[in-house]
Symmetry: C3
Subunit: 205 residues, 3 copies
């Protein structure tokens, strides 16, 4: 089972490296700045999680992650040089896959380090949203997590499902949490679901 | 005595959660983004302090902090839905209380982990200003700490008083440091005290 | 030999404190905000490196670093009050020296903590670029590392040279890496070397 978590982690890293590279392209960055932004996006969330859990940072003794980041960034660059446009739908799809993978991974790693289920939900969500938040802050965009429909909420829902099902079956927990996070995020994007906190009328002040 | 430090910590967290929620309202955020910003503000400073001290992160095994953050955010949201305006004076008062609480907490935790008095002053100040700095950076505001009258200076003064008095009495150190930090901050706001570093004339270049 | 690494570290800290102070001047900051920005720039990269390596944060038990930061900031402030202009060439020279010092230091500390040569290159680069990235993000500038000619690339080249030569002679590795990083950076600035990743034509879209 461990292998599946590792593969999920690598997939999440690849997908977020793609999203960092796409933003770098849109921002007219060049040189190795592109790789810096791709790396920040891909490993920012997991690094923050590991620091807080006082666990060894996941990429410190495993160069595979950077091979994946460089490959994903270079394939994306090649595609952009050839096609020269960004498929927004694909970017949001990649991002939705990325947060699903990272929510599961973060919650699993937190549970295994012995924190409570409640804290595991917070750390799963943090793993999923921090990489993208760093990407947006460094590239001077409004962070997606702060403005987007149900962004953090979908991670909280997925992480909660994972934490509740994990005692029964880790495989089931992983699959259900992936499906919930990904489906909720795609649904929120397609049907513009939202979670109103402030009255719309007041928002216009 | 420990209880008083714990209560001070929770009060600081509540007050900064309110300030994060108020900024989220002003920035027209919605959904769980509000809670994300409130949490970043409330636990950002203490988390950074604990990581640097290599101490267990304070909220990792105590869910009380998130109960406090969620309650403070929801009460603030309720108030805003009802009243729909932000009392700027109250916000600055909350922020002044918050930095007073966190300066004391940060300096105390640093001293108890065995660093020098000088480093404890730096970590007390860092605890107080980092949460608000994260809040402002993520919400794309000019950080208050970088532009505001005597913001960091009041924390340094409070932390210095705490470090000097702590060997004699922790209760006295706590009270004096709280009063100094809060009073200096409110005085700086009311009377526009400032600490000129560059000549005003040159600032206009 | 250890002494030379310590002196290199202090020189890097001084030089980055100067660059933080100069940016604070250009942004019309005042009071202790200047010192906060200078400190962030000077210790941000090394602090991130130490947290990731799970090593004691380098300034936690050595107040020398803050003496150096305060002295560098005050000398810079004195110079600016007297002259009131920023010599851009000197600023870029200071920054180039800073990244050369920090690349070497970061790679050395990483190698000594037992990570692979590949990871040491990443951590050397991270040490060199993170302080300046924090400085720019907090002061709301486009980070130099993301837009500047070969900025991260020069650090990667210097760190690679250091890692390859370190098994033979630490003195030689240090000198060669310093010269490579500094020379490449100054050359990139003077002759506008660049590493095109996206087609120029496409950049204009």
């Amino acid at each position: 089972m461990l292998d599946w978590f590792y593969i999920t982690d690598l997939l999440g890293v690849a997908v977020f490296a793609v999203s960092g590279t796409l933003l770098a392209f849109r921002k007219h960055m060049d040189g190795f700045g592109v790789v810096v932004l791709a790396s920040l996006t891909a490993i920012g969330g997991g690094t923050t999680r590991d620091l807080i859990l006082d666990a060894p940072v996941f990429w410190l003794h495993d160069a595979t992650y950077f091979v994946v980041i460089l490959s994903a960034a270079m394939l994306t660059i090649g595609w952009l040089r050839f096609r020269a446009y960004i498929p927004v739908n694909r970017l949001l799809l990649a991002d939705a896959l990325g947060i699903a993978f990272f929510t599961v991974l973060g919650a699993e790693k937190a549970l295994n380090s012995g924190v409570s289920g409640f804290t595991a939900i917070i750390l799963g969500t943090m793993t999923a949203v921090f990489g993208g938040m760093l990407r947006d802050v460094v590239a001077r965009e409004v962070p997606l997590v702060l403005k987007s429909e149900l962004y953090a909420t979908t991670c909280i829902a997925g992480a909660t499902a994972f934490v509740l099902l994990y005692p029964y079956s880790d495989a089931l927990a992983m699959i259900v949490a992936l499906v919930i996070t990904f489906t909720l995020r795609m649904g929120a994007l397609r049907y513009h679901w939202s979670l109103p906190v402030f009255n719309e009328q007041q928002d216009k002040h």
